[in-house]
Symmetry: C3
Subunit: 208 residues, 3 copies
Amino acid sequence: MRFRFRPAPRGVQFFDLFTESAAHLRTGADLLARILGADLPTRTKLAARLKDAEHAADEAAHQVYTALAQTFVTPFDRDDMYNLASALDDCMDAMDEAGELVVLYELGTLPPGVSEQVAVLRQCAELTYDAMPRLRSFDGLEAYWIDINRLENQADRVYRRVLADLMNNAEDAITVIKVKGVVDALEESADSFERLANHVQTIVLKES
Amino acid sequence: MRFRFRPAPRGVQFFDLFTESAAHLRTGADLLARILGADLPTRTKLAARLKDAEHAADEAAHQVYTALAQTFVTPFDRDDMYNLASALDDCMDAMDEAGELVVLYELGTLPPGVSEQVAVLRQCAELTYDAMPRLRSFDGLEAYWIDINRLENQADRVYRRVLADLMNNAEDAITVIKVKGVVDALEESADSFERLANHVQTIVLKES
Amino acid sequence: MRFRFRPAPRGVQFFDLFTESAAHLRTGADLLARILGADLPTRTKLAARLKDAEHAADEAAHQVYTALAQTFVTPFDRDDMYNLASALDDCMDAMDEAGELVVLYELGTLPPGVSEQVAVLRQCAELTYDAMPRLRSFDGLEAYWIDINRLENQADRVYRRVLADLMNNAEDAITVIKVKGVVDALEESADSFERLANHVQTIVLKES
């Protein structure tokens, strides 16, 4: 087993990478909202931009993983840093999946509840973008955690209502399967935002 | 990076919290069994009680996470403690999802195999409730692990049979999607019980 | 908390166990390819052999977990070893699920894209079987990581095409649900191969 002390690579700024990832989440949530209101050709273009944001977020996550593997001393517990990067990535992946399925399945107008799901995700992304730089100072992170948990509860309620409407007033089973794919992906993104906020809280608890 | 030695908060009793979580699992599995046999208005009431049990289990898990973040010396490896709390939570979440979907989807009588799935979960919950206090003494935990693995194999066989019946003798595709949602959630709960037992075994192996 | 120094159990060869798991993956992917081309009675026999391979892989993973719990010094970070074993297991579980569903759902000829998915998995398994012994020397592991990521991108493209064809040209909703189950399991296996390669890369980064 080789083992060496190693300084943090110059220029690796974990907090900047987390903030960058959160900026991609904000872009992603905005694009999702626009996809819902667009026609199919425009949706295809917007979904390509969403995919670009997902790739950029993936790249940022990968930079965090590489830096973690090569850095001896990290600002917080290594595992917590890893979990943060990974949860940020999961939020984005699920948003990208939702946007991609809308195009892939050639869906028409989505039920209004889907826009409500996306509206909650936009708020989550905005709050997360504000919170990430505050990992440096811990300023107001408790409020962030509470807000995200409140939004996730709201997302759950919307999700259950959309699901019940979809399944109980269904006409065409294939359309049900398609829309359920989109709705589930959006719910997964909301769950990932909650997991992200929980990791932030763990860091705060450990350091306080 | 701030760093301090910190005593375990007074009154934090990890084993009591694990046992409490397992008690909620027992309650949850009992409620699930009653939901299957009830009419829709009664199901709605029972599902609300199941949701209460899920919230209580969530609260217990959160107490474990907080205590882990703030305690310097834990009875077993921190990660194993975390994994135990998290697996207990997953068992409950999946049971709650199953109960909730039965109500949300306004399902009628479920196929008999679903009751068999729930019967296995009740046994898993009972064994887990008996095992959690024995984490103090390690008494009989090997038998617990073997029993849960046997039950999980049984759950798998039931699940595959229910799934095959459902899919190959289906009349209405929407009903298939609905029942599959319930059946999958129950299978996920059984899988989580197995993962829980595997974490218990890891702890036993490390300490023996 | 009991604590002891403990030598590695004699005869536990982590790299041999990883290589053995990868050999099972190769067997599994070959069996999957043959299942697709066979009739139902032959499929049933081949799926039983796939299940045997899955059990054997499960056994190898369990030996790794036991050895990790009982070994004080491991060749790489304990968590990375655990993640490797776990990702190898996930690749296999998803392949086994795909094969099992083909039989359980009594499916006829699968769409041609499904064979393309399996062809990618065979390449992933082959590369992984070649790479595992090289964890000893780190020889060519960077190329392994790049190749698997390229294959996973290819798997994603095939998956999306199969999914779009399935959903947009569907006749029977139940068949769509069945085939989607198989196709999703194959995609999950490809994702697990990517996660496996990422864990290999983490190990390389930490040690280099």
